[in-house]
Every structure is written in C-alpha cells, then in structure tokens.
C-alpha cells in the first residue's frame, strides 16, 4: 500500500487584485510533532488526517490488518485517568502500524510516588520512545508535556480542554454518512461545560464550515462559549429539530455534572434522546455518542441501538483516525529538519 499521504491538496479560490478568480491548489504538509487539539490545526491539516484515516481504514478491512509503517517505533500510552475505549483504540492503532506499545497507568507506576508529568515524559524520552499518547485529568497537560520533550505527544484527552482524536473520528464518521460537514447543522448535547469532546468538536466542525449548536442545562453551559462561533440553547427539541446530526455527550453524574442537575431520571426526562423526541427530527438524523453510554440517562437504549445510531462505527473509525495521527506525527516534516 502506498503511504505518501503526508500531503493533501486543497483547492483555494482567491480573488486577484484585478477582480479575477484565481484557483490555486494549496497543499497541506504535516509539520507538527504533536497533536494537542483541533484549535491549533488548520482546515487543511484536519483534512490531511481525515484523508489518511480513509486509507488506514482500508487496512482494517483486510484479512491481515497490519502494515509495517511504524516498525521500530515505540508508542507509550500514558494514562492518568481510567479509559477503555481510547486506550485500546490507540493501542490497536499502534499495533496495526507495527509499532511497539507500552501502556503506563497511574496505579503501580512512579507517578504514584510523586513523579511529575514533565519528569515522567523526559524519562520516557530518555528510554528512547517515539510517541507519548497522554490522557490526563488536567487541562493543558498535553501542551505542557509537549514543551518538555522532543518526541511526539498526542493528546488523548486533557481535562475539559480537548480530545482531538475523538472529534476527528466523529467528523470522519459524519463525512462517511453525510459526505461533508460543510453547511450541515450539528448539535452537541449534554455537559458542555466539562466536556473536552465538545470543545474539540466545536473547533473541528466550525473550521470545516458546519453550523454548530450546543445544548445543555444552563449550569452546564460555560461562560463565553458563544464566542467560539456556536449557537447556544437549553431547549432539546430546538437542538434536534433542524439537526443533520447530534453528538450526545456522556453525563458524568458521578463527577462534574453532580449538582448541576437534580437527578439522572430528571435529566433523561428533560434532555434524554428518545425515539419520541427523534420523531420531531429529520428522518436520517445521525446519532453519535463518544461512549461510554449511560443508557436511560442521556439516551434511551432504543436510540443507542437504533437505525440512526452510528456509535459502533465511530469506535471502528477511531482506530483509523489514530493510525493516521500516529503516522503523521512520526513522519512530520519538521521545520528545523
């Protein structure tokens, strides 16, 4: 298989000083050693990841799901927070690319002995690894780590800040289902205040030209969110009505959402996505969820398993996206190289 996907052409129309339309092909080149968030990527760079993921998805469809792209490279999954889906997905992505994978979690490691994130990162670098995939409960942890080491850092979720690969796989799934997100109405529903998935989706989708609405109970709408270019509502029916797709977030009643809403059942009644509610929506509305689902809280079991749900496809696409990301960050054309 050909792996020359570091470049992606993009047509650009500009008006010349004389008023003529000039079409130029802009070629995106991946130059970043890290993936920290979608805020920091251009439209072209997002396109590059999506293009590459498409190719890698073909690999996943083969009987032998493995390519030698990252042979000899080592990927460390450094997880300060519990995670099943994201960690396994990154591990599989790395293994499908023939990289060596090491999983490091807080429990039983030097982190518990009080080692700082920067020290842990520098030690992993000294151990001659190539990529650190980091999941951390503090916003900005990935950015901090990336400044401290020269090896690649991929953000697998930092606090409430960003979860870029999740948003990328969401967008990839939307592209598969709907062709292109440009001009589409996409609603993100749930605990916006504490959601890194929401923030990454907002950056990615708005950069690609989607109309984004966020919907949450008042207490879970963070200050100034409208300045990021989204519509804001607390009315679930309004959020669903014109939507081409909805991305339903997990309500973390065990943590952040507690206190913002009286109870799980109350939340379900007011904001839960049910078949009843979807009757008022577009027939082909795409229903997404980053998982793990609280059935009967943010979404009914019927909707989760229903015809509009693409939740499991998202999971499969996640591997392709992470393969693309691991490939690009390790093959970045470094500006100083």
């Amino acid at each position: 298989m050909k792996l020359s996907y570091v470049k992606s052409p993009e047509e650009k129309t500009k008006i010349s000083p004389k008023g003529n339309k000039v079409v130029t092909k802009k070629t995106a080149i991946w130059t970043k050693k890290d993936l920290l968030g979608l805020e920091y990527l251009s439209k072209e760079e997002i396109g590059l990841i999506l293009d590459n993921a498409k190719s890698f998805k073909e690999v996943l469809a083969r009987p032998l799901r493995k390519v030698p792209t990252l042979r000899g490279k080592t990927v460390v999954n450094l997880f300060y927070e519990p995670s099943t889906r994201t960690r396994i997905s990154f591990e599989l992505a790395a293994k499908r690319l023939s990289a060596d994978v090491i999983n490091m979690v807080k429990e039983g490691s030097s982190i518990q002995k009080g080692e700082t994130l920067i020290d842990t990162g520098r030690n992993l670098e000294a151990l001659k690894t190539d990529v650190i995939v980091v999941r951390h409960n503090c916003s900005g942890a990935a950015a901090m780590l990336s400044r401290a080491v020269n090896i690649s850092v991929v953000n697998a979720g930092d606090g409430w800040h960003e979860h870029p690969t999740q948003a990328l796989l969401d967008i990839f799934t939307l592209n598969e289902k709907l062709g292109n997100v440009k001009g589409l109405n996409i609603s993100i529903i749930g605990d916006i205040a504490h959601s890194r998935v929401a923030r990454s989706n907002i950056w990615g989708l708005t950069k690609l030209g989607a109309n984004v609405t966020v919907c949450a109970p008042g207490k879970l709408i963070p200050a100034g969110i409208e300045k990021l270019g989204v519509k804001v509502t607390s009315n679930i029916d309004e959020a669903i009505k014109k939507a081409d797709a909805i991305n339903v977030l997990r309500m973390q009643f065990e943590r952040d959402a507690a206190g913002a809403f009286p109870s799980r059942i109350e939340y379900f009644k007011t904001f839960g996505i049910t078949e009843e509610r979807l009757k008022k929506a577009k027939k082909d509305i795409v229903v997404m969820h980053p998982g793990p689902i609280n059935r009967g809280v943010e979404m009914s079991a019927e909707v989760a398993d229903g015809a509009n749900s693409v939740i499991l496809e998202q999971v499969t696409n996640g591997i392709a996206i992470r393969m693309a990301v691991l490939y690009l960050v390790t093959h970045a054309k470094r500006e100083n190289a």
Binding site: E39, C138, M144, D158, G159, R196, P222, G224, I225
Partner: protein, 427 residues
C-alpha cells in the same frame, strides 16, 4: 551627601523641578537650588528623576519558613533594584506571622539582612484560618504595621466585623484580600471565553467585588478605615469609586500585572500567568488604569509572590498562584500609565510612594521634606532594558515579563541616608 541636578518630584510638598538634596545622617537636610557644601559626596542625577523612595505595600518575602524561594536579603535586593526602598512583608509564611513572637523573630532577621526598609504585616486570624483573631495589641507592640490574612479572605463576615472593630480599637490598619471562596472555589483563571476555551475552571469577578462590597460595608458600620488589596476588575473599581464618593474611609491598591496583561496571556497554559486574583479582560485593564488615574485606586503594589520552579512547572491546575514583581513594577507603570494612559509623573510617584506612605502612616517617608527619612530613588525615565532570567535578583524567577523590553529604570537608591544602589550596582 548631595544629590545634584536631578529633576525632583515630591508630590506631598508640591515640588517639581531641578533641585539639589542635601542628606545628613539618615535624614534629608535641605532641598534647594544649587547646594554648595564642601566635603560632601556628590551623586549626579542630571537628566534623571529624583523621587521619594518607592514603597511597595504588598510583598511576600517568604520568611520565615520558605527561604528556598525568597529571603529578606534577596527580596530586599530585588526591591532596591526596582527602586523600592520600603516594602511590607505579608504574613502567609511558615508558620504564619500570627503572634508577637514571630513578628519579633522576623524583625530580628530584617535588622540583620534587609537592604530596604521592611514593615511586617501580621495575620488577622490565628493560623490565617479565618476563625480566631490574633493578639493585635501585642503584635502592634512588636512592630506589626498592619494586619492581613492575605492569600485568603476572612470568609466569615462576623469574624471580619470583629476584626474591623478590634483593629479600630488598636489603631492598626487592616488589609483585606477580597475573595469569596464560595464563588471562586477551585478556579484558576478569569471566568469567560478564555477559561472556557482552555477548559480551566473560571474565577468569576463576583468573587472579588462582592467581598469588596462586604468589607466596605463593614468599614462604614464600624466607622473606620480598611485597605483593599490587589483590585483587579472593572466592577470593583466602580464599587470603590462610589464608596469613596459616599465618604467611606477606604484605600486600595492594584498591581502592575492588572494593567499590563490580560487573560489572553494564559492561552498557552503558561503557569507564570497564573495568579490570584486572575488576569482579567482588556476592559478590566482599562478600568484599572482609569481608577489609578482618577484616584479611585490609591497605590500600586506588586504582590511580589515568589514560587519555586517545582511549584510552577507543573499542571496549570496544580501550579501555585502568583508572580514576582519587585523588579518590574516601576517600568510597567511607566510604560502603561505614563506612556499608555498619559498620567503625569507626579501621579505615578503618588501611587508608588506618597500614597502608600500615607496609608501606612509613615510620615517620614513618601516625601522629600526636610527632616524626613533619606529614602530616595533616582530614575532614568527613558532607559530601555530587557528583563532576563539571569538579571533577576529575587530567589524565584516566576515572571511572565521575562524577555520583555521595558522602559525606565531605577539607577540609584538611598535608604536611611546610605547609598544602597549606585549606577545599577547594589552595594
């Protein structure tokens, strides 16, 4: 000693112009044109500004207990380098300065180590816990100049009211850090779009201005004075302006970072931009400048807060609040207030010397009257310089201004009639 040919700015005596100053012992003897005295050491201050030494009433010298990040010796050298000849040292030390014995202990260190004048601020409550009031009378006797639980507020209004009344009885100044913890909670940056974008917990401005309102009311009820520390936002400035108009006896300060940097400085998660109160919006910066210009805010104080590398080079959520400021305070004020806001030099010297002396009741300081203390700063107002990590005299380096080219610099300083800095060289 004679300081010759300098452009004197002495707001208290309404004196401005080229004069000489004769110093004898620790006092100013004479301020006049062209003083000719034989055998006196001459300091030439031609083309420079000569002003009463700057007074920074909000400094964390970290002694006792945290000598690893700042000391009286190093902190006062940093102060002198910034043209500051007197500082107030805050009591959130280890142990906190909440007892006459600790005041005495710290004053002994100061006597031995300090290059600038240091006035000890004691805590309001024992252990800075916000519960039991300290023994104000004895702490004052040992030399505490004011009381503050700085770093946190006395959360309980009843305790604060008792403190206000007792401070009045003892005729000692209360300095209030205004922050309602029920509102600020675990916030780390200003609430708003930047916090939202960064996914960091926001600190609403309400946490500050509601407690300013509370303390203004307490001062009014007790018919006494209160000083409000580190004012950072527009709403607070408006509340203070109104209170002063209503004749309530309050004084206030803001810090250079609140008129030099806005919250957008936090976007890279640089923990050197993490402070409490947090950096606010562009609009707030303007309000702070306006407040300093029109007298709503009385003083500029740095809130010099040294922290170790290990306390700052960690996750933003876990990093310590605060930045160092003694060495950049004057330059930032010159750049942002004189150049940026067109406030006159006289006003700047009021904000940085005359007014803090007045608030603290230091009659011999903050002015160039005959028989006042010979605490004097000589400033090169046009000097451009770059603030580098290596140039920092404080023991800690946590400043977001490192790498900035600044304007205006103290070149010489006299404390109690002794030259402590000559031509930028600390003696």
């Amino acid at each position: 000693m004679i300081i010759k040919n300098g452009y004197i700015i002495d707001p208290l005596n309404k004196r401005e112009g080229v004069f000489d100053i004769l110093i004898s012992g620790s006092k100013i003897k004479k301020v006049a044109k062209n003083i000719q005295e034989k055998g006196e050491e001459i300091i030439d201050a031609k083309n420079k500004i000569v002003a009463p030494g700057l007074i920074d009433m909000h400094v964390h010298l970290r002694e006792p207990g945290r000598e690893d990040i700042e000391t009286v010796a190093r902190g006062t050298r940093a102060a002198i380098s910034g043209g500051i000849t007197s500082v107030c040292s805050m009591p959130n030390t280890l142990p906190p300065i909440d007892d006459a014995k600790i005041v005495k202990h710290l004053n002994n260190i100061i006597k031995k180590e300090a290059l600038a004048n240091v006035f000890v601020v004691g805590a309001i409550t024992s252990g800075r816990s916000g519960r039991k009031l300290v023994d104000m009378a004895n702490m004052k006797k040992e030399g505490a100049i004011a009381l503050s639980d700085d770093g946190s507020s006395v959360q309980d209004e009843h305790v604060m009211f008792e403190a206000v009344k007792k401070a009045k009885e003892n005729d000692i100044l209360l300095i209030s850090h205004c922050e309602n913890k029920n509102i600020s909670k675990n916030g780390v940056v200003n609430e708003g779009m930047i916090a939202t974008k960064l996914g960091l917990r926001g600190i609403p401005k309400r946490a500050e201005y509601e407690f300013i309102e509370r303390d203004i009311n307490l001062a009014k009820k007790a018919k006494t004075k209160i000083h409000i520390a580190h004012v950072s936002c527009k709403e607070s400035v408006n509340i203070i302006r109104k209170a002063k108009k209503d004749g309530i006896n309050i004084t206030t300060e803001s810090a250079p970072h609140y008129f030099s940097l806005d919250e957008s400085a936090c976007v890279t998660y640089d923990t050197r931009t993490k402070m409490n109160p947090p950096l606010r919006s562009v609009e707030d910066i303007e309000a702070i400048k306006e407040g300093l210009k029109d007298g709503t805010l009385d003083a500029i104080a740095s809130d010099h807060a040294p922290h170790g590398k290990h306390e700052k080079e960690i996750e933003f959520d876990f990093a310590a609040f605060g930045i160092i400021g003694l060495e950049t305070s004057l330059s930032l004020a010159i750049m942002n207030l004189i150049d940026g806001k067109k406030i006159p030099w006289k006003k700047l010297i009021e904000l940085m010397s005359t007014n803090p002396a007045g608030i603290l009741g230091l009659k011999q300081k903050g002015n160039l009257s005959e028989e006042s203390d010979a605490d004097i700063v000589i400033i090169d107002p046009e000097k451009k310089w770059t603030y580098t990590k290596d140039s920092i005299l404080s023991k800690s380096k946590n400043s977001p201004f490192i790498g900035w080219t600044l304007k205006g610099l103290a070149t010489d300083a006299v404390v109690g009639g002794k030259i402590v800095m000559k031509n930028r060289k600390i003696i």
